[in-house]
């Protein structure tokens, strides 16, 4: 395990494939423009799998979508930059250049990708549409590549291309989503809730495939999920989001073993696990905030926080490095957050 940690640290020092700096995404509501993501700073180190975890409404999907500069109206990226290796700042791209980057540099597998396939066309036809939209000259090569990827994922490539989406199981549709995301040789793979709506066996199979494709294709991968179990199974690095802020990040095993933000600790304690004492696990009190109920001043988590102090209501904690390769946004002493006991 020490090896992995060391490796991850080295990679983090090496170039990041994607660097997000000071990213703010605003959504227009009847209460004015409110931030769904506020001042987010995060790197996706080349060759790693990063897990982005949070409850619904935490802004994790918005952050993932903004990597493609694909925030739908009434939202917009209001400030910040997203540097993608070999592409430049994605937030500055538009039109044709932006369309090129989506697919060729960044592959996105949508939430419920089971339902994002066209029910009226075979997977093969949709692949050709994709090729035409991206001005692919060598269509045969594209099909060959798709079959190769499908075979790699344990499917019969030729059969899959001839299938309609209803002929495929949930797990297979998810794999087709990954094939379509990677067929243009994207270097960065973004998966939004890849295993929601799948049963345990399909989930395990999809995670195994993500791991395998990630390694074989030498990708940089971002997995967005609300399930702590899923990320801890496959991620090298973990970033936790709450109320539009990244509140903690670091190497996955370290964050799981020694969470330094009370929210991370509570989230781990609230996960139904197959081991451990069922009596010590407990749900988070309160409910996750949405755009309009996020506290406007101070720490966004303070209303549900067991460690909240006066300062938490006044000053918003910054995401700062507190130990090598570990960052957190919390006013409390790191020793306190780690020592508040299981599921506090």
């Amino acid at each position: 395990m020490t090896d992995t940690v060391q490796l991850t640290a080295e990679r983090a020092e090496a170039a990041a494939e994607v660097s997000v700096r000071d990213l703010t995404v605003l959504y227009r509501t009847d209460q004015g423009e409110l931030p769904a993501v506020a001042h987010a700073d995060i790197d996706l180190p080349t060759g790693t799998i990063t897990g982005l975890v949070g409850e619904s409404g935490s802004g994790k999907s918005t952050l993932a979508l903004s990597l493609m500069n694909a925030i739908p109206a009434p939202g917009r990226i209001s400030s910040g930059s997203i540097q993608v290796n070999g592409v430049g700042d994605v937030t500055r791209l538009e039109g044709r250049a932006l369309r090129r980057v989506r697919g060729r540099a960044l592959g996105y597998v949508f939430q419920a990708s089971q339902n994002s396939l066209n029910p009226l066309k075979t997977v093969g036809k949709q692949l050709l549409d994709l090729g035409r939209a991206h001005d692919v000259q060598d269509m045969r090569g594209l099909v060959r590549r798709a079959r190769e990827l499908a075979d790699e994922m344990g499917m019969d490539g030729a059969r899959v291309l001839d299938s309609y989406q209803h002929e495929l199981s949930g797990g297979m549709r998810q794999r087709v989503g990954i094939v379509l995301a990677l067929v243009l040789n994207a270097r960065v793979l973004i998966l939004d809730e890849p295993t929601t709506a799948l049963d345990m066996l399909s989930q395990a199979a999809v995670l195994e495939i993500v791991r395998k494709v990630h390694r074989q294709e030498g990708l940089t991968t971002l997995v967005v999920t609300h399930d702590m179990g899923v990320v801890s199974e496959i991620a090298d690095r973990l970033a936790v989001m709450y109320g539009g802020r990244i509140v903690e990040d670091g190497p996955a095993t370290e964050v799981l073993q020694r969470p330094a933000h009370p929210y991370t600790r509570a989230l781990i304690g609230a996960t139904a696990r197959i081991t451990g004492d069922t009596d010590t696990a407990r749900a988070l009190p309160g409910r996750p905030p949405d755009l309009t109920t996020v506290p406007r001043t101070g720490c966004v988590f303070r209303e549900r926080c067991p460690l909240a102090m006066d300062v938490c209501a006044e000053t918003e904690p910054q995401l700062l490095t507190w130990a090598p390769d570990r960052r957190r946004a919390c006013h409390a002493d790191p020793a306190t957050t780690a020592a508040t006991g299981e599921g506090a």
């Binding site: 345990m200 199974e233 509570a266």
Partner: protein
Amino acid sequence: MIEARNITRTYRTRGAFTGERVVQALRGVDFTLPRGGAVSFIGESGCGKTTLGKILTGLETFDGGELVVDGVELSTVPQRRRASYFRRIQMIHQDPYSALNPTRTVDQILGDPLRMRARQTGDRAAGVVDRAAELLELVGLEPDGVLPKYPHQLSGGQRQRVVIARALTVDPEVLIADEAVSMIDVSMRLGILGLLRDLRTRLGISLLFITHDVATARYVGDGGELHVIYRGEVIERGPTDTVIQSPVHPYTQCLLSAVPVMRGLEEPGPDRLVPLAALDERTRTPGCLFAPRCPFADERCTAEHPVLGRTGGVEQEHACFHPVPRRVVAVETV
């Protein structure tokens, strides 16, 4: 409370070109759910666990076997009088977003079944308002805040609590929870599971818990039984902890191996197992249904059908010719 004996259900569909397609959703399931007890059914999609829940709530018919509720065999009860038996068995659906009418407030959602119940029991309708508030408090919601709200104004966890409160309006003795937490944010799941456990101990309500997520079955409380169902047949059953800690059927072992490992807190079990192929519910075999996907299948498994029983000196019941306990479940490291 509920006793099911050899329940079978077969679906036949006929396509214009494909010919008859037969799916045996349930192939003789029996179990006993005692008062205040908890029985969990686990299995992958398409294993028949949802059909079972529907049959028990009267939403689906069955073609063979007996269903006994409170000592009365339901087939002896005339159709029009069965409703009073199914009233005692209420369902909590998977998706709290579609289980509530979006145009009605919580007040109305609870009020209607309460008034109906009051007419049945001869109580005065005046008690309805108090009862609604009482039920909301029971499920951990604050009545004054929640009663005037529409479902979209509540979080997923709160909505599922309203669904549970609605199920309780007709004084049920059994709750059937079909994937009751799988659509809810992970952070809220334990709250709902804790509530179901509370209802068992405080009201003596029995719980039939249907899920694909084995880990959640651990949280429904003491004395729970786990039944593993595969293609409509129970292939292993016993006390929840026993089945999780020392499963003997390879299918159970595959299911348990698939539970994500919290790396850093847990280590994967040394004998983790993966099924050889995906589920194909059309294959017919005289032998073990799981044999085509089983890493340990031999000639006997493809020729002869194993029946549920206690053999090979194993504590729990199983349907396998080669029951071997394997350490597939993650092990805690801290």
